[in-house]
């Protein structure tokens, strides 16, 4: 697939210095007052710095309100940083906005559409904004790959939520951007579309596109992302290869189903409870035995006991402070 070569990127090639696909440099964002109307200024991002290299599949995780969307908005030029700067393949998103935006394909989080147009018109128009001429073949390929071919002439209003989401992805890719940003692309999307979408994005990544993904589905991030950054209250609290994050985590989890009993308070504090499923992070066999003994002592009836490897969700909860941030 064709990768657009911008002016700043061309400069980078000349200088022979490897240039990150995206570079966040001390990015801070302060809103004058909290959006709820309070008088306190709200610090949405606090000195966030990291680079995403060419060809990476990168995950940006954090609970609601951590600043993920603010960071992506600044990257995409939808918002301005209070301080710091962001470069896309060497192009400053403010000073060199046209070049930076040519290299970015952003799938917005909100399910937005223009009701005046059909799918093909929407794609042709978006293509035209970027000055891409004779783009029909690529538009057809996008429609085909995203399962939209039979909807090409349907008005945007007539499409289901999942179909609208596919069009958003197609619109983001219509100018063949080398860097793709997906902000919660699978929120509220059915399993089939998630599979189609991930196959497609993974293929783009294999062909050399850099992908930045934010998602609430941590199993997706674990399966897809080579490296992960975690944000909490506007600060970066983790940045590592996914495999390293998993290695560093408490290595095992004791998981069982509880009958109709309640977990005693001192155990509740250390457990992750989802309905009847109880999970304890455990480092070794002694710790597992200890938990089982406590459960037996409390006279609880348990079933489906298993010990599994820690996954990204466990790491995430570890980093975020398990007690308050159950929602990913």
């Amino acid at each position: 697939m064709f990768l657009a070569q911008g002016h700043c990127a061309a400069l980078a090639l000349k200088s022979r210095v490897p240039m990150p696909a995206i570079s966040f440099q001390s990015v801070s964002k302060t809103y004058p007052s909290a959006r709820g109307g309070g008088a306190q200024p709200l610090k949405a991002l606090d000195d966030v710095s990291f680079d995403i290299e060419e060809g990476e599949f990168f995950g940006l995780l954090g609970p609601n309100g951590a600043g993920k969307t603010t960071l992506i908005s600044i990257l995409a030029g939808l918002s301005r940083a209070s301080s710091g700067r962001v470069l896309v393949r060497g192009c400053d998103v403010q000073a060199d906005y046209a070049q930076a935006r040519r290299q970015l394909g952003v799938v917005p989080q909100e399910l937005v559409f223009d009701p005046f147009f059909n799918v093909r018109e929407a794609l042709r128009i978006q293509s035209g904004y970027f000055g891409v001429k004779n783009n029909q073949a690529w538009i057809d390929e996008l429609l085909e790959s995203l399962g939209l071919a039979d909807k090409a002439d349907a008005n945007m209003r007539q499409l289901s939520g999942g179909m609208k989401r596919r069009v958003l992805v197609a619109q983001a890719l219509v100018h063949k951007p080398p860097v793709i940003v997906l902000d919660e692309p699978t929120a509220g999307v059915d399993v089939e579309l998630r599979q189609t979408l991930w196959q497609f994005v993974a293929q783009l990544n294999r062909e050399g596109h850099t992908v930045l993904l934010t998602t609430h589905y941590l199993e997706e991030a674990e399966a897809l992302c080579g490296r992960i950054a975690m944000l909490k209250k506007g600060r970066m609290v983790a940045l590592a290869a996914t495999s390293d994050l998993l290695k560093a985590a408490s290595s095992n989890v004791l998981r069982f189903k509880l009958g109709n009993d309640q977990l005693p308070p001192h155990l509740q504090a250390r457990a992750r409870v989802t309905g009847r499923i109880v999970q304890f992070p455990a480092h070794d066999a002694a710790e597992i035995e200890h938990y089982l003994a406590e459960v037996r002592q409390a006279g609880l009836k348990v079933e489906d006991v298993e010990i599994r490897k820690a996954d990204l969700e466990d790491v995430f909860l570890d980093v975020m402070g398990a007690e308050s941030e159950v929602q990913a």
Binding site: G77, L78, Y97, R101, V112, F116, Q126, G128, Y129
Partner: protein, 251 residues
């Protein structure tokens, strides 16, 4: 097509797809004005010698429709895109503030002229019109539509809700167009209101436009041209500044 041409094309397509509402409806409104005011006032009001009241009214109604629809085009397109959230598609593009400006104002001119032509074609049947200086007609129609298109851009960027935009339209645009001499010559007004009318740029647009038809006007067309051009430049500078700084759209 280049970026700005695509946006211009999209904005024209947007109103053309609903032309029954955006073109036909305002033409009908203008015809109703003409029939009612023409019927009531034809034998009572005489503004210029050799020009019937209905003939006097036609250019005023045409220009009023041009101005109101030029404003409605850019302002409603922007507020709809903001509220629907699809403005993001445009915000993500490399289009410069000049591209936005040219496309939004250009499409407003297109809609203004489309409605103006429609009103003219229908109302011209009701009166005997002359065309003393057609170039003036075209110049004032285009400059007036451009200024209202740019004003619509400002209103559309500023407004966060439909009722804020409606307030702008009802409390600024409507009074200024109605009090600009569409239905009367300002010479028929009391001295104070005559003076005040001279501060209304809409008066010069309509007066200059009407000069193109009858070769008669309240002030010199050159004077009108100077005022309208200055107003257009001022409003454009404000609109361009708002677009360049991302006022209310790139928070």
């Amino acid at each position: 097509m280049t970026g700005w041409q695509t946006l211009l094309y999209k904005e024209v397509l947007r109103f053309w797809k609903v032309s029954f509402q955006t073109v036909a409806a305002p033409v009908l409104t203008a015809v109703l004005y003409l029939m009612i005011f023409g019927h009531v006032l034809e034998d009572h009001v005489k503004v210029y010698d050799q020009v019937s009241y209905t003939a006097f009214l036609v250019p005023g109604l045409v220009m009023m429709s041009v101005l109101q629809n030029a404003f409605a085009n850019s302002s409603s397109s922007l507020i709809q895109s903001k509220i629907m959230g699809n403005l993001v598609f445009l915000l993500l593009t490399p289009l410069s503030h000049w591209s936005w400006f040219v496309a939004y104002v250009g499409s407003s001119i297109a809609r203004g002229l489309a409605v103006g032509t429609g009103v003219f074609v229908v109302t011209a049947w009701f009166a005997h019109l002359s065309f003393v200086a057609p170039l003036w007609i075209l110049v004032f129609a285009i400059l007036g539509a451009a200024m209202l298109g740019a004003l619509g851009l400002i209103a559309g960027l500023w407004a966060e809700k439909f009722d804020q935009l409606a307030a702008f339209q009802n409390f600024i645009i409507m009074p200024m167009t109605f009090l600009s001499g569409v239905f009367y010559s300002i010479h028929s007004l009391p001295a104070f209101w005559q003076q005040l009318s001279h501060f209304n740029p809409f008066f010069y647009m309509i007066d200059g436009f009407r000069y193109g038809f009858f070769g008669q006007s309240d002030v010199s067309p050159w004077m009108s041209l100077a005022v309208v051009a200055t107003a257009l430049l001022t409003v454009s500078a404000v609109a361009l500044h708002m677009l360049r700084t991302g006022y209310k759209i790139r928070n």
